[in-house]
Symmetry: D2
């Protein structure tokens, strides 16, 4: 039994803050060099207490194994403009020496049955606390803006109408995901063709 | 001639901060009521000085008319999950009594030639300064996540490869915008069908 | 009985965010004009639920009168460098036309029995919500850095050792408050003397 | 010659963000354990470009040695409630294994000629950039609220009236600093006496 959730969750909240800064720093570094960033924006969330409890029950995770066995208490999400950018970000993360990667799952090319696409990385991070160091698991989901569009809307429908959709809706959502993915591929192709014919002459930037 | 840009831009920066808070407040209000928000996220930007100068030249706007004649120095952007949400947000803004709406343009149903879609509202806001009140023009762009996907990538290609694309690329971008819009319509339809058959039984939320 | 505290507290949280921005905006406005700001920094807090409940009991405030009768649910604090700055800030607030001031208490010149000094202003603010406008009470405490030093430490001792100090400690705290106030007066005098002999030739700024 | 200051300053800005989070994390960790934090608040600043240039001239630092020879480009400041807290924070920093301390200066007990008091620590921090790791110098100033009161006001007078005060003013500022320090000592003594007679029974917290 976790008796004091504030106390339990503090290191995850701290890790989420530090990583939001680090990932946004990657975007800012590209911008400081006047280069286009493979990261469009970054969000973070701490898993809600009732979601943790529900998952503990479902996966039979005990309190004393919670920190080791639940990988997504501290979650970050990176949204990339183009499809290729996902793998650029993966490479950047692999080269960092302040983390140790535990697992990677490529749901970009191997989408889930629902149609969900993203690249998932779980790593262990040495968080400095007042009394010493603590290993914290962090999950990062990397996806394009198009994948994020689909996942956000599917989640929203899910949230309001329950986990299981009628078969017909289920199929339509899969198809919508497929079409979003085709859009990603088309935009990537356009980028590559422009790059071939016209190597980089930036005009004025005006970004929201 | 604007002699001190920091001084000139300060009220726009202040208005942008206040409005980012106000618009995020709408999202938080829905969440505090456990309802799904028509606003997914909000960004703001102040127009870059060289963009202001370039637009002054292009539109022949003089310094003394700058505050009245350039409507997008203070810009905010609202990203909505579903197509209908755009018009919900427009209604919420129309009902506010702390602004006076100057113009509205519906580029959602009347997309620009490039394929660009968004709903634009320009309003005047009474900003309180130390020495009194000042009317500031604010432009808000409201769009779906799918429209934002397309606009972000098109802007990115634009930035790197110049304002005018080869005709073939131009046509492909228009088609991609059309497909993104069809995805928005399909997701809206799915939402309406689920709503008809199954009025609102929320399950657990887990949001990034 | 308040049944849903999240729902009850949302407007106060929103008002606190908007006012933190507005008050920090005053500081930024001075800085944009290269003038020294009467505001050093701003903090905000929402009254903790158990503090609200304790005060309801103590003052016999019922749930249906809570929004009208408890004035400090939404609280902001302005820290000023110099003593005079407090009254400059009071004047700035009095001139604003987006609030209606309900009460002012000058605990700067009429300190509380404990030694506490600050200037308190309570006003009513028209908060825009999705369904219309709502009047929210906001309390602003204005104090110097020296008053804040004393109040922070007294609060800290209070928090750890209970509300009532032994008489000897009580007297020593009163005296410490008096000495902090004398320091404020001395620093103000130095400022005025420098101003008389040497009207404003700023050197380079280097501010944390 | 530094040609691109944005590019040069980016790593310092990133380090400042990461360290602001880390230091605020120490405060939050104490609060999550319901203990009083030795850190009241944290600020950060990047040295202004003209201040860097002025210091390069004054200390004869060349561009290619700037990162090694100027220690305060990335600066953080920790404000502590009580005098003892300064040394608690110093101990916490010494124990961290993500930094390597380069120098420490105790201007708390050995105040500068002006009356300035603070504890300064300079350390080297391994910042992760896209292309690898970079050692960044970070300066942290640790001081009480009373020391911060004095330093803020002295800086403010300095800024407006030039670096050198008339002798009489200089002496009065030294005396004010001395009195502020006596207040720190008195408050510490009160804390210790309360602690002896009454070991820790926290009442309700209400913090801004």
């Amino acid at each position: 039994m976790i008796e004091d959730w504030d106390l339990f969750l503090f290191p995850y909240e701290q890790a989420a803050k530090e990583w939001k800064d680090k990932l946004r720093g990657i975007r800012n570094e590209y911008q400081s060099r006047n280069q286009q960033s493979p990261i469009e924006f970054v969000t973070s969330r701490i898993k809600a207490i009732d979601s943790i409890q529900e998952k503990m029950k479902r996966r039979q995770i005990t309190s004393d194994r919670l920190s080791e066995d639940m990988e997504d208490i501290c979650g970050l999400r990176i949204m990339c403009p183009f499809l290729d950018d996902i793998y650029t970000v993966v490479e950047i993360l692999r080269k960092r020496n302040d983390i140790s990667i535990i697992s990677e799952r490529d749901y970009v090319n191997n989408e889930k049955e629902s149609g969900y696409r993203s690249y998932h990385i779980v790593f262990s991070y040495s968080l400095q606390l007042v009394d010493g160091t603590r290993q914290i698991l962090v999950e990062i989901q990397i996806r394009t803006l198009a994948m994020n569009f689909w996942a956000t809307l599917e989640h929203s429908l899910n949230y309001k109408h329950g986990d299981t959709f009628p078969t017909e809706i289920h199929t339509r959502l899969q198809k919508a995901s497929e079409k979003a993915f085709q859009l990603d591929e088309e935009m990537s192709q356009i980028r590559h063709e422009l790059e071939k014919s016209n190597p980089a002459t930036p005009t004025e930037q005006e970004e929201h």
